[in-house]
Amino acid sequence: MRGEPIEAIRVGLETLVASLRQDPFALENAWLSVITFNRTPQPILPLTELETLQIPAIPQPEAAGTHLGEALEFVCKKVDAEVTLSSPERKGDWMPLLFVMCNGKVSDTQLFSQTVPLLKRKHFGKIVACLVGHHPVTENVRQFTDNILSMDTADSSTIKTFFEWVSTSVSVGNRSIGATDELVLPPPPAEMNAII
């Protein structure tokens, strides 16, 4: 991604933070971390409490390549380092939610295949892949999640809608729960196509 979609994501993230701050449940509990990636992953926002965080500028990618494997490996390391696990003496953090926005392509296939099983063992509450671009590839992300959303056109309003949806997904913890055990996310916004 370059240009408008990157800027739109930043604006979307700001919308996300603003709406999460208006949710008393999220405000009390949620922390957010943002990692960008092209050839290398780059944490642009370390794990931060909602009330204090500010969304930084997202650098335009200079290198081509979609090293999703490396990015996911990086996410795994961050989870190990930053998510406090429960110990018999102390309650840990709630299971993190992971939202991956990409075009679905993978340039580092070998690392990607090695990382997917690692990622699956990390006990995410939910992993959602959001595919951007006109011809998104679904088979790669399908290896680590069944929750795949495709944005038909990645313009700023679509991305904003997406982040509003992410925000309701984060606050879903204090919603009424149905008769099933799974963490049920709200339905995706109209502009997205859930791929089943």
Binding site: P24, E28, S86, G92, D93, N174, S176, I177
Partner: protein
């Protein structure tokens, strides 16, 4: 933005603007053009049973509550759906818009840094010490007395539902709007009402409020006879949690005990099979660990600093029943009526704190001879008149009632204090809602000024007190309030004397 006009199931006209203003767990919500009502459509297709349930809720159940004498009283306590509609194959409901006071007038501190002005006053804002201490503007917070009023209104609304044989099934701080600036509350999301044996629940409830038996058996099939689903008894658990959270700003079961290192399993155990009151008098397993709390959650988050006993003897008894005896034993849980009664009696034990900077502003009298505010530690200065209420079951003899009224300056006395057959609730007539007299501290004396009582008599001195006259409150003084059936006698006690 397009306005859509359709006909409701009852044939009346319904209009809404075609833009979603909110999304709940199951519904998308739209405004009417004049914003006097909202239209909410279920995203998923509803079966025959659901349709039948909604028709009953908007029809016969609603009429039974609202179309009776005093029915208007409940309009403030519920946001009750009025009509069902169908549009593009989706089933929906028409609901009145929430009252204006349920939207933030100021919002958060620092010129509303969170941007919540105009948003709904969802209960979670108030049930959390962190949100209260760090974010809410002081004008939005209300004082501790207001939270008692909020809890009374919630208990009353739940009591009325249960009296009609209906269970809400999903009481939570999301489904109860509160306004601590005025003490008002309203129950929303009424479309999930459960009727035992007729309309089963379609939600389990909201985390924090689901009863232990529901969590414990949720792995079983829905038609398994051992499976527990929301009903009136689980509503009672949720109500007890709501009251505990609004008065103490923490959760009664979320303590330091880790039952399983897998957080999902730990959650199920600590709210289900292993659920244990954090303030259990003898079992200290689940005590809150202060080191687990954030500084912004203190002092309210630490039960050692602010134990539940600060809520007074009547509520302590009910909390014990809800979170000790009844936690795993649904039939022992206090009913909504018991909560309402205990809250009302507790309000009569409350005193304004003499420290103008006290966060809570009010406290419940602790029955000691040297009363002090348990929150800020300020000792009560001066004499504190305590009225012990006695009532008559046969002419001439009076028996004690375990009912006390603390007196403070400019406090009113009401008809329900005068006669034990009256309760401050929806059944009072307009006349019975007016004060019968008031207390003042005047020229170094505590006086009761009679406004409307025709029988008022100073029994110690055998002297009638006519309307417009006052009687001094002295230690041991007996004052007869009414000679009618159920009429009460006051015996004055001066604490801190």
């Amino acid at each position: 933005m397009a306005t859509i006009k359709i006909k409701a199931t009852d044939g009346s006209e319904v209009e809404f603007e075609d833009i979603i203003i909110g999304q709940g767990g199951m519904k998308d919500v739209y405004f009417s053009p004049d914003k006097s009502y909202v239209v909410a459509f279920f995203r998923d297709k509803q079966d025959f049973n659901a349709k039948d349930r909604l028709q009953n809720i908007t029809g016969i159940y609603r009429e039974r509550i609202f179309n009776q004498i005093g029915g208007d009283y409940w309009k403030e306590l519920y946001c009750w759906p009025t009509k069902t509609i169908e549009h593009n194959g989706k089933l929906g409901l028409v609901c009145p818009t929430y009252q204006k006071y349920f939207f933030f007038a100021v919002g958060s501190i620092n010129n509303d840094m969170l941007g919540i002005k105009g948003k709904e006053k969802e209960g979670k804002w108030y049930a959390s010490a962190k949100n209260q201490n760090k974010f809410l503007a002081p004008q939005e917070r209300g004082n501790w007395f207001n939270y008692f009023q909020v809890c009374i209104n919630i208990s009353r609304a739940v009591r009325r539902l249960h009296a009609a044989g209906l269970a809400h099934s999903d009481l939570s701080y999301k489904n109860v709007l509160i306004d601590p600036t005025t003490g008002r509350a309203a129950i929303i999301d009424i479309d999930g009402l459960v009727v035992p044996g007729k309309f089963p629940p379609d939600v389990l409830g909201t985390p924090d409020f689901i009863a232990s038996e529901v969590i414990k058996t949720k792995h079983l099939a829905k038609n398994d006879t051992a499976r527990c689903l929301p009903n009136i008894a689980t509503d009672r658990h949720a109500l007890a949690v709501l009251i505990y959270m609004y008065l103490l700003y923490r959760h009664p079961l979320r303590g330091g005990k880790v039952w399983d290192t897998d957080p999902a399993k730990d959650e199920d155990l600590s709210m289900g099979e292993k659920a244990l009151f954090v303030e259990h008098p003898t079992d200290t397993t689940n005590r809150v660990k202060v080191s687990d709390l954030q500084p912004s959650q203190l002092p309210q988050g630490d039960p050692a600093k602010i134990p539940y006993a600060v809520c007074g003897p009547y509520l302590k008894k009910l909390f014990d029943r809800a979170f000790i005896d009844g936690l795993h034993n649904p039939c022992n849980r206090p009913s909504a009526q018991e909560w309402e009664d205990a809250l009302l009696k507790t309000v009569d034990l409350m005193q304004p704190c003499q420290n103008p900077n006290c966060w809570h502003k009010w406290f419940v009298f602790d029955n000691t001879s040297k009363p002090k505010c348990p929150f800020c530690g300020t000792e009560y200065k001066g004499q504190l008149p305590v009225l012990n209420l006695y009532s008559s079951r046969k002419v001439g003899s009076f028996t004690p009632e375990d009912y006390r009224v603390m007196v403070y300056h400019n406090q009113y006395l009401y008809a329900w204090h005068v006669n034990r057959n009256l309760s401050p609730n929806e059944k009072l007539t307009a006349g019975q809602k007016k004060p019968v007299g008031y207390f003042v501290f005047h020229n170094n004396k505590w006086l009761f000024v009679n406004q409307t009582l025709t029988d008022l008599e100073d029994k110690t001195e055998n002297r009638k007190i006519p309307i417009g006259q006052a009687v001094e409150l002295t230690d041991g003084k007996q004052i007869l309030l009414s000679k009618e059936e159920g009429g009460r006698l006051i015996v004055v006690q001066l604490a801190n004397g």
